[in-house]
Symmetry: C2
Subunit: 218 residues, 2 copies
């Protein structure tokens, strides 16, 4: 049985799933959402492990193709649907700058602060809630400072890199949702805040927002 | 003053720098290495912060272009030097599978185990050496299990994805160097071990090996 349109296995508050939702919306790809409840552990059940042995969301399924890893999925979407908005600039050095910005968030920050790591800090290492929040905000601040410096170099433009949204704005959206959720101080990062505000006025970003997902509790 | 050939700011034992060295060797790009000593803190000094506000290696500099983030640098090298070996397959789904494999390592594993994080665990959280090693091996085992499952799906081929090396083999090389350095058990990952052995017989991988770098202590 083939899905009539691509399916995104998603959890409303997963940063990585949020990214892919925005990318699909920006590209104008029609898709459905299959919610995976991380709180009740659906991602660790056999049915989901069949899709992704890692037990992580998001998973993107289109016919026989099943893809994991949000950054790889977004590059796939950009290459598989070349019509519509390009999620990366055309110039080779410009593409590298956008990818580097993304990886400050997706590589250097997010993996340190996701649920499985915070659980390990609590369960295996006995780190108390206060110290876990300090950990969280420490890596956020490191990442945000690097983003701010990179946006300074990038120069003017409504979005992170120029006048159209890119993978950079997508990664920043999830990052900022987390920063706001966990009260991370943002005063030192005016460019980050300004670019994020512009992105969040875009319908593709709004529709993908965690609090507007079908599996978001009422 | 422009560098006559691209310069890689590298530390011999940095996994991320190791990746880029392999990529440059595979593409046949002529480059020089500028060592940055992470043990003496050269990466935190003003001169290096000027190049990379994040204070992380590697940095790739070619004329006016200065790039950070190993994955972004390697995609850049692949796009900027289209002649020679392609570091990603041609097919769009195949490219996505290679990138997803890379990100199991580069996103989900490596950032949790790098020097700055181990230092935070020790200094800020007071985690003893034994528990830090358990942490290290825990994330390594999670990553290696996912890699093994992905290689199982990828099917036969001397390298990770087919009969030529790709970004997947590059990321695996750094991963395995760390796994061996920290005595991570490898018995459950026969495909990972076999693919890695093939890669390490390739001159581009050998030349890039941490123990063959100019800044490796004698």
């Amino acid at each position: 049985m083939t899905d009539p349109v691509p399916v995104l296995f998603s959890y409303y508050r997963s940063t990585a799933a949020y990214r892919v939702r925005i990318a699909l919306n920006l590209k104008g790809v029609n898709y459905t959402i299959a919610p995976v409840n991380l709180l009740t552990g659906e991602h660790r059940e056999a049915a989901f492990r069949e899709l992704n042995p890692q037990g992580l969301v998001p998973i993107y399924r289109d016919g026989d193709l099943t893809l994991s890893q949000s950054m790889a999925i977004m590059e796939y979407i950009d290459e598989a649907f070349p019509d519509g908005l390009a999620l990366l600039p055309q110039g080779v050095p410009e593409r590298a700058r956008v990818r580097a910005f993304c990886n400050v968030i997706a590589v250097d920050t997010h993996p340190l602060n996701n649920l499985r790591v915070l659980k390990y800090l609590e369960g295996e290492l006995g780190i108390a809630s206060g110290a876990r929040m300090t950990w969280y905000r420490h890596w956020m601040a490191e990442g945000l400072a690097a983003c701010e410096a990179m946006l300074h170099k990038a120069g003017p433009g409504a979005f992170c890199f120029g006048d159209v949204p890119s993978l950079a704005d997508i990664c920043l959206a999830g990052h900022m949702f987390n920063a706001e959720r966990f009260d991370c101080p943002l005063g030192k990062f005016p460019r980050v805040v300004a670019r994020h505000e512009v992105a969040m006025a875009h319908p593709a970003f709004q529709k993908a927002h965690p609090l507007r997902q079908p599996d978001c509790p009422g």
